[in-house]
Amino acid sequence: MSLPIQQDARRFRQIVRGKVRENLRQYISNSELIGRKGRDLVSIPIPHIQLPYFRFGGRLKGVGQGEGEIGTPVGTDGRADADGSAGDQPGAHILEVELTLEELAQILGEELELPRIRPKSKNNVMGTITRYSGMRRVGPESLRYFKRTYREALKRQLASGTYDPARPAIIPIRDDKRYRSWKEHPVPDNNAVVIYMMDVSGSMSDRKKELVRLTAFWIDTWLQAHYKNVITRYIVHDAIAHEVDSRTFYSLRESGGTRISSAYELCNHIIHREYDPAAWNLYSFHFSDGENFDRDDDRRCLELLAEELLPCLNLFCYGQVRSYYGNQFYDTITKIEDEKLCAVKINNDEEIYTAIKTFLGKGY
C-alpha cells in the first residue's frame, strides 16, 4: 500500500461499497471483463462509477468490421467503449471469479475497520524452516555443489603439480566431491487454536444456529489471514458437553437442560491436555441463548473463566442469540471485567456485523 494511487483506489472502493458519497450511488454499475483462468473463461466484475454528462441516448448506430450477412449479431453490450471481447462466443461457460480468502479477510478488515491481530509473543516454540546453506562430503548427485567440488579439485591439482595452465583440465576425484546439505533455521511460528462452543439444548433453533454459523465463518476467515495454522475444535453442550466435528456442530439438535459449565470444563480440559498456552494463541467462542440451569452453575462458570480460561486465552467471546427465556447468562458473564472477555448479543443478521466487530475489534 505504498503507491500514491492506492489512496485513490481506496477512496474508490469506499464509494463503491456505499460507505461514503451516497449521491454517487445511482451512478455505480458493474461491468465485466471476460478473462481466462487456465482453460475456463472467468467473469471479472469491474465496478464502475459513471458521472453524468451530456451524451447521445437511444440505441447506438455503429460501424464494425468483419464477415457476416445482414442480421448477423454483433457482440456488443451497447457502449463500444467497453474493453474486452465479451459476447462473441455464445454459450461458453463462464465462472464467477472467486475472491481468495485473503481478499475476503482484507475486505472484512476494511469494512469493519478491524485492527490486525498482534499475536502474543510466543517465542518459546519455534517452527523451523529448511535452507540448503550447508555442505558435506557425501550426498546424492542431485545435491552436488559444483563450485566447491571444482575448487577442491583445483586445489588438489595445484598441490600435486598436475595442473597445466596450457591445457587446463580439472577432473575431480571422489574425495573432491562436495554436496549441499541443509540447515534448519528456527522461525517463530504463529499458530492459533479456536475452540467453538455452542449450546444445542432444546431452545436453540435452526435459525439461531445459522446465525452462529455465519459468525463463525467470518471469525475463521479473519484468523486464517493472521495465523499460519489455525486449528478449530468444536464443543457442543446441553447438560453435558462433548467434542464433535464441524458438521455435527452445525447440525446437531439435542434436547435437555443446559449446563454451560460443562462446556467450559471440557474446553479447559482440551487446552491443558493438548495446547500449551505458552506456545499457542488460544481463542474461544461460546454461543448460547442465555439460559443456564441455575445460579450454582453460573458461579462455576465464572470460576472457570476467571481462574482457568481467561489467564491462558488470547480472547474469549460470548455471543448470545436471542432467547425467549430472558438474558440471564449475559448478565452473569458481564460481571467479569477483563479485557480479554467480550460479550455480545446477536439477535439478527445485522447484528452479526457488530458482533464480529466487537469480537475482533480488540486486536487480540
Binding site: I15, G35, P52, R55, V63, I70
Partner: protein
C-alpha cells in the same frame, strides 16, 4: 539465455533508425517500471502524479484486474510533453521492448508535428504536479468531501469546450459596455418643452428603451461554445472553486487534440513500428514473437473497430495509392473495377504523402478524405443497428455512404452533442440557458438531467437545456430548487 541489455544503447539505435526514416521528435525519456507502478502511471494518463480523485483509483483497479487475468500488457504510453516520458514494462521480453520503443517514436513524432497539437502545453508535466498541489491545498482547507463533490460536478461538464478554438482561450475580448443614450425628445422650444415632452411621455420613452435594452442585452451576445469558460467568468464561484474549474478546463483542453486524433495517432505509431521493426530493428530470431505480439495489438475483437488497425490500414492504403498514383480526378472518374485495381503510374509518392498527412489532418479529415469505398469493401466494414425484434445489435448493411457518415458523426466533437450557452440571464432572473444543436440524434435524457443537476450546483440558479426529442418535438429540460422538470416548447416556424 539471458543477455544483459543496455537499454540506452537500444534506444539510441532505434531512435537513429527512426530519424533516418524521417521522424522528428523531442527527447524521449524511458522509464522501466514493474507492472504495479505501470498500472498506476497508466491510470494517471502517463503522468507521474495527478490530483487526488477516485476516478484514477477506478481506472487503476480496472487495469490491475485486467492485467492479473492476462487480458493485456500495456504496451506503450508516452506523454505529449517536451521531453516526452515513456514507459517499459520490466517483465516484458526484449522484442516487446523494441516494439514499444519503435511505437513510441511514432507517437512522439506525431505529438510534435501534427498541427492540432501545436498549441498544447509541452510543459504539462510540471502543470499536472501543480494542479495536484493546488487541489490538495483546497482539500486540506475545505475538506475532501466538499472539494470532491465540486470536482465531480466540474468533471461532469468537461466535454463542454470549444474544440475548434486554436488552443485554450484565456482572456477573451471584454464585451462592449452599454452605450450611453439620450432619450428621444420631440423638438420644442425651451419654454414649451414641458408641454411638448411631458413627463409621462418621457417615462414611456424610458420604459421602451429599457425593454429594448433587455432584449438586446441577454448575454453572451453570441452563443458561447466554451461553456466552461462562460462558467468561469460568470458563475458565482468562490476562489477555490474557480481554481478547481480552471484546472478541469485546462486539462480538458490539453487532452482534446489527443481525443481528436486517436485513430491517426495509433495508426501512425503502428505504421512506424511495423516499418522500423521489419526493416531495421528485428533480429531474425525475434520475428515470430514480434509477429505474434503485433497481431495482438491490431486484432479485431468481435467485429468491433480497432482504432490501431483502422489507422494503420488507412495509412498503408494511402501510401500504396500514392505510390501507384491511384488518386486524383482521372482515377476517380474511372469506373472499371479491374482498371482501378491494376492502376499503377509508379509515382512513388506514398512515403511523402503519409508524412504530409500526419502533419495536417485530424481523424475527421482523415476519414473523410482517405476512407474510400474500395477500402471499406476490402476491409469488410459494415453498419450495425439494434434490432428491437431480436433484442440484439446486428449487421444492417454495407452501404458505403452510410458507413462513412456514421464514422464521421462518431468523430465529430468526439462523438459528443454540441452544446452552446445561449443566455446567462434567462427570464431576466439570472438563469442559465443552453442549447443542444440537434442533428438527428437525441440526448440521453437521464444523463442530461444528472448533468443539469451538476450544472445547477455550479451556477447557483435554475439551469435549462433546449433540445429536440424524436426528431420533431422541442423540449426544454430544467433543473432548479424544486428538482428537475421539463416542458414542451412550441415548434419553430419552418424557414
Amino acid at each position: 539465455m539471458t543477455r544483459l541489455v543496455d537499454y540506452r544503447e537500444l534506444q539510441d539505435a532505434i531512435e537513429s533508425h527512426a530519424r533516418e526514416f524521417g521522424l522528428d521528435f523531442f527527447e524521449v525519456r524511458f522509464q522501466m517500471l514493474d507492472y504495479d507502478m505501470l498500472n498506476q502511471v497508466a491510470a494517471y494518463d502517463g503522468f507521474p502524479t495527478r490530483y487526488p480523485h477516485w476516478r484514477f483509483g477506478m481506472e487503476y483497479e480496472r487495469l490491475s484486474k485486467s492485467y492479473a487475468y492476462g487480458l493485456h500488457r500495456i504496451y506503450e504510453m508516452v506523454t505529449n510533453t517536451d521531453p516526452c516520458i515513456a514507459y517499459l514494462l520490466a517483465s516484458n521480453q526484449l522484442v516487446d521492448q523494441k516494439l514499444v520503443m519503435a511505437h513510441v517514436c511514432g507517437h512522439a513524432d506525431f505529438f510534435k508535428n501534427n498541427l492540432w497539437f501545436a498549441h498544447t502545453n509541452r510543459k504539462m508535466l510540471d502543470e499536472m504536479a501543480n494542479h495536484a498541489a493546488r487541489i490538495r491545498r483546497h482539500v486540506e482547507r475545505y475538506g475532501l468531501e466538499e472539494v470532491e463533490n465540486f470536482l465531480d460536478a466540474c468533471l461532469s461538464l468537461d466535454n463542454l469546450i470549444d474544440i475548434h478554438a486554436a488552443g485554450i482561450q484565456r482572456r477573451p475580448q471584454p464585451q462592449s459596455g452599454p452605450q450611453p443614450h439620450r432619450l428621444y425628445k420631440l423638438p420644442a422650444k425651451d419654454y414649451m418643452d414641458s408641454f411638448i415632452n411631458p413627463p409621462e411621455f418621457l417615462a414611456a420613452q424610458q420604459a421602451r428603451y429599457q425593454q429594448a435594452e433587455q432584449q438586446r442585452k441577454h448575454f453572451p451576445e453570441e452563443p458561447e461554445r466554451d461553456v466552461l469558460l462562460f462558467l468561469l467568468e460568470n458563475a458565482p464561484l468562490e476562489n477555490w472553486q474557480h481554481d478547481v474549474l480552471d484546472i478541469v478546463r485546462e486539462e480538458a483542453y490539453y487532452f482534446a487534440p489527443q481525443r481528436q486524433t486517436k485513430i491517426m495517432n495509433e495508426g501512425w505509431a503502428s505504421y512506424i513500428h511495423t516499418n522500423l521493426m521489419t526493416r531495421s530493428v528485428l533480429e531474425p530470431d525475434e520475428l515470430i514473437d514480434y509477429a505474434d505480439h503485433h497481431a495482438g495489438t491490431v486484432a479485431t475483437h468481435g467485429r468491433h473497430l480497432n482504432p490501431y488497425k483502422l489507422g494503420l490500414e488507412l495509412f498503408r492504403d494511402l501510401e500504396e495509392r500514392w505510390d501507384r498514383g491511384a488518386f486524383g480526378p482521372e482515377y476517380e472518374a474511372c469506373d472499371d473495377l479491374k482498371a482501378r485495381d491494376e492502376w499503377d503510374r509508379r509515382l512513388g509518392l506514398g512515403r511523402e504523402k503519409v508524412f504530409e498527412v500526419r502533419l495536417i489532418y485530424n481523424d475527421v479529415g482523415f476519414i473523410d478524405e482517405f476512407l474510400t469505398e474500395d477500402f471499406a469493401r476490402q476491409h469488410r466494414l459494415f453498419s450495425y443497428d439494434y434490432n428491437d425484434v431480436t433484442n440484439q445489435y446486428e449487421i444492417s448493411g454495407r452501404e458505403f455512404a452510410e458507413i462513412k457518415q456514421r464514422l464521421l458523426f462518431q468523430l465529430t466533437n468526439f462523438g459528443h452533442p454540441i452544446i452552446d450557452v445561449l443566455d446567462g440571464n434567462y427570464q431576466n432572473r439570472g438563469e442559465l440557458y443552453l442549447l443542444h444543436r440537434y442533428e438527428g440524434i437525441d440526448l440521453d435524457i437521464p444523463y442530461a438531467q444528472g448533468t443539469l443537476r451538476n450544472l445547477y450546483t455550479i451556477w447557483g440558479r435554475p439551469v435549462h437545456v433546449e433540445t429536440v426529442v424524436e426528431d420533431k418535438v422541442r423540449m426544454l429540460f430544467s433543473y432548479g430548487p424544486e428538482g428537475d422538470s421539463r416542458e414542451k416548447l412550441e415548434e419553430l416556424e419552418e424557414e
